[in-house]
Amino acid sequence: MDRILQNQESNRKEAILGILLILLLLGVGLTTLYSASYDKALRLGLESNYFFRRQVLFAILGIASAIVIYLVPFSFIRAMVPVLLLSSFTLMLLTSLTPLGETRLGATRWIRFGSLSFQPSELVKVSVILYLSNYLSQRTRIIREFKVATIAIGVIFFSALLIILQRDYSTTMVFLFLSFSILLIGGVKITHLLYYLLLAGVPGVLFLITEEYRLKRVIGFIFKDIDPSGINYQVNLSMDAIASGGFFGKGFGQGIYKLGKLPEVQSDFIFSSFAEEFGLFGVICIILVFFILAYLGYRGAARHRESDHFLYLTGFGITHILIWQVLLNLGVVSGIVPPTGIPLPFFSAGGTNLLMNLGMCGLLIKIISQKEKVIEKNEEKTPQKRVIDFE
């Protein structure tokens, strides 16, 4: 009983630490966004705080939804998973196939609600992770059967197809990586995964080479000298900005690359501006904060591995989404990952992304703070359970 109480105490501490880290990231992220985007906004003929205001609005919405998610019981969340999945599919289809979808830059990825537009593919990522966690956790006994893998992978591929329809290939790749990770740690047989990966891999490669610009991006990444001012233009500038930061950076607000030099400085390339102003010191701090958050997430999830498979898989999945968004964005910005449109959580301008990230964080904190159910097979009816129930 002591041990459990102790755990309970440390759970709460970790959850509070997690909340503080998230708020810290959000604060730094918003500040950086304001600093990096005001010039861009002015150049676009908008008010200087245009990006910042929108982001704050979504941050408030996000925190509110995180609190709501934290308060509702898991049983409700689990019951809502199919609804969430279906509605995200519906939104995706509405966006892609009906005039409700909003086209920007030649891609139809947004759907408008009043004055706010929303990117359903962000929702798909989360709902599929939740769905997989729920689905797999209900089938722990038959998990190694081919049928289970088939259904799970079917859902994944269908969702991937929906995202591909919106020409969002980098999100698709990340999504596939994340959901297959869930399947792996969820216990699906690895040979089953490999069958399906091969099945999808061949058309995938064909797909990559059929449209020129996709191939160009990959080629431009592999052979950097082919077109220094073309495909890798942003990345070269970004690395230049980072390099100019030095150890302690130029100081907050002192960066010059955000003043028209770096394209997309308010979204995908915001971190280069941050690195320029805060230097290696700031970069390592941010990476460490994200890392600690991920550590808390993985640890919090792992705690439920034996007791509640749903919490385990969900916690793992959320942490996974968060940390890999960060890693991929940092990779793109520093030129070791091909240029993709992956935003940096809490930093990059983008309402839906922030809302989803905060919502997921709400769920993650809930999982971290959740006390373990002790339903170990041998001691299924021990008094310990009652003690916990009592609390």
Binding site: G45, L46, T103, G106, A107, I242, F290, S334
Partner: protein, 557 residues
């Protein structure tokens, strides 16, 4: 196994994340603290190069670089391609379809119009500052402006949209005008070039050219005015011409730099050079008068006979009369009395069959068969300027032999270069290619040429009152490529003049290809233009008339 397998994957995937975090930290450290070999260098192209200005010899601007604005769309900032295209179609002279075409297939950045007009820039700038055009940006760039439009167009040349010279001086001196950027400077300035053209003379010549075109309707025309003492080209007209500012809409015909690119048979103008060669070789009995009865028949080496016709019966003809009346028979007979090899060598030393080396692209060297390849007809035919291909510049330049004591000058197109780095000028000096004739023969031929503008001379219309003009006309038959014979009605009318005859200052060459205005002789088509240009030179104070002119004016008052 089941549980441990799951655990294994869990740890694998988590360690993957940990590894990625470590890689990321190392990566950022490497970028911020690069070892020497990885240091990232700002590419040199980022420094701006201000292309040098092209002036005429007196400092009138012919080409200079100015900023202009381009319109581009940042696709990430726009709400709808359709709406942006609609808006832009209103504010620019482009159609919605054109704009949509430029926007499609782009994902981040699309250039809509490279060079905005002033009014387009104004309207777009207003709209952008009123925040009614999200995602549309105006970018400042630099490009060439040619204030003289078509005057001297073929000499000046033009640059492409990336500011690289494509023709004329812009091409030949591209590296000088637009040097490699100096990384130490914000802006690297190119050297300025002062071409030999005098804009005033160029303008007058172009006007006279237009008058000639109007009256005689030739397919094309050339007027070259050269400084007789230095070989500098003061005016350079090649018609049809084009506006340098709109070179991309110009026809190919208009862009041909005819004075150096086009090779043709010069006709009787060439007699001054063949006569000079004949006199220099001295084998022909030019002191015996040639009796012209309207045609001249001679027997070729193979025993066949050939006939050369004159325009009329010229009677007794000496060298002076030959030039005055343009007698084909006389010059043909003297040529026949002259040694083939030497005749060829003299003509070659006048600069025919070789490039003059003028600093413009695409020069033709002309065509003159070596004497071994001549047929029996060749020598007499060449003597009156057929069966030889020359460029207008060759004809004009060869005349410097007569104005420079028998020395051939190199034609010049660059008068001076201003070097930005040393802030000094370097001027071009007259350059003697070779001595062609003795001073006496050069002087004699020049004096004989005066007969052309005397009463009864073919070039009488080239003479302006009060100026002694040495001139020779020509009406060349043009070879019809399709029939490979001389065309009946296609001629090239031309006149060359050296003036004033006693102390030459200008060499003026006028040619008009295929005049269709009723007259087609050089004496009627080209010679009057020389008279008009001489008058222009007088009125600009660039040419003195003799005393009678001054008295004439004072009498008039």
């Amino acid at each position: 196994m089941d549980s441990s397998g799951k655990k294994l994957f869990y740890y694998l995937i988590v360690s993957l994340a940990v590894l990625a975090v470590l890689i990321m930290i190392i990566r950022y450290t490497m970028i911020m603290f690069p070892t020497k070999s990885q240091e990232y260098h700002e590419p040199l192209v980022s420094s701006r190069v201000q292309r040098g200005t092209i002036f005429d010899r007196n400092g009138t601007i012919l080409a200079y670089e100015t900023p202009y604005y381009s319109c581009a769309v940042l696709l990430r900032e726009i709400d709808s391609i359709e709406k942006t295209a609609d808006d832009l179609a209103l504010l620019t002279d482009m159609s919605k379809e054109e704009i949509l075409h430029k926007l499609e297939d782009r994902s981040t950045y699309a250039l809509i119009k490279k060079r905005l007009s002033d009014s387009e820039y104004q309207m777009l700038n207003d709209a952008i500052s009123n925040r009614t055009l999200p995602g549309v940006t105006l970018e400042k760039r630099y490009g060439r402006i040619y204030p003289q439009q078509y005057h001297g167009a073929h000499v000046i040349g033009f640059t492409n949209i990336d500011n690289v010279g494509l023709s004329g001086i812009e091409y030949t001196f591209d590296r000088l005008l637009s040097p490699l950027p100096d990384p130490a400077l914000d802006t690297t300035y190119g050297d300025d070039i002062y071409v030999t053209l005098d804009h005033r003379i160029q303008y007058a010549a172009d006007q006279r050219c237009l008058e000639m075109i109007e009256e005689h309707k030739p397919d094309s025309a050339i007027i070259l005015i050269m400084d007789a003492k230095t070989g500098e080209l003061l005016s350079y007209t090649s018609y049809p011409w084009f506006d340098l500012n709109n070179y991309n809409t110009a026809e190919v015909e208009e862009k041909i730099n005819r004075p150096i690119n086009s090779m043709y048979e010069p006709g009787s103008v060439f007699k001054i050079y063949s006569l000079a060669a004949i006199l220099a070789i001295g084998e022909a009995r030019t002191d015996e008068l040639f009796l012209c009865d309207g045609s001249y028949t001679f027997t070729m080496d193979n025993g066949k006979s050939a006939t050369i016709n004159c325009l009329s019966t010229h009677g007794e003809v000496g060298p002076r009369e030959m030039l005055k009346l343009s007698c084909n028979g006389a010059v043909a007979s003297w040529a026949l009395q002259t040694n083939d090899t030497q005749f060829y060598q003299y003509l070659h030393s006048f600069g025919f069959n070789e490039k003059t080396g003028i600093q413009m692209p695409g020069e033709s060297g002309g065509m003159l068969q070596a004497s071994e390849n001549w047929s029996g007809r060749s020598k007499p035919t060449i003597a009156f300027g057929q069966e030889i291909g020359t460029t207008a510049l060759q004809i004009t330049t060869a005349a410097t032999v007569f104005s420079n004591q028998g020395n051939l000058l190199k034609p010049k197109i660059v008068h001076a270069i201003y070097h930005q780095d040393s802030e000094t000028f370097s001027y071009s000096e007259p350059e003697i290619v070779r001595n062609v004739l003795s001073e006496n023969i050069a002087y004699d031929v020049l004096q004989m040429m005066k007969s052309g503008t005397e009463p009864g001379g073919t070039a009488i219309f080239a003479k302006r009152e009060g100026i002694e003009v040495s001139a020779k006309t020509g009406t060349a038959q043009i070879l019809d490529i399709e029939t490979n014979s001389y065309s009946a009605d296609h001629v090239l009318a031309s006149t060359i003049a050296i003036l004033p005859a006693d102390d030459p200052e200008y060499i003026i060459y006028v040619s008009a290809d295929n005049p269709k205005g009723g007259f087609y002789y050089g004496s009627r088509v080209a010679a009057p233009t020389i008279e008009k240009i001489s008058s222009d030179l007088v009125s600009m104070g660039l040419l003195k008339t003799d005393m009678s002119e001054i008295i004439y004016i004072s009498n008039d008052q």
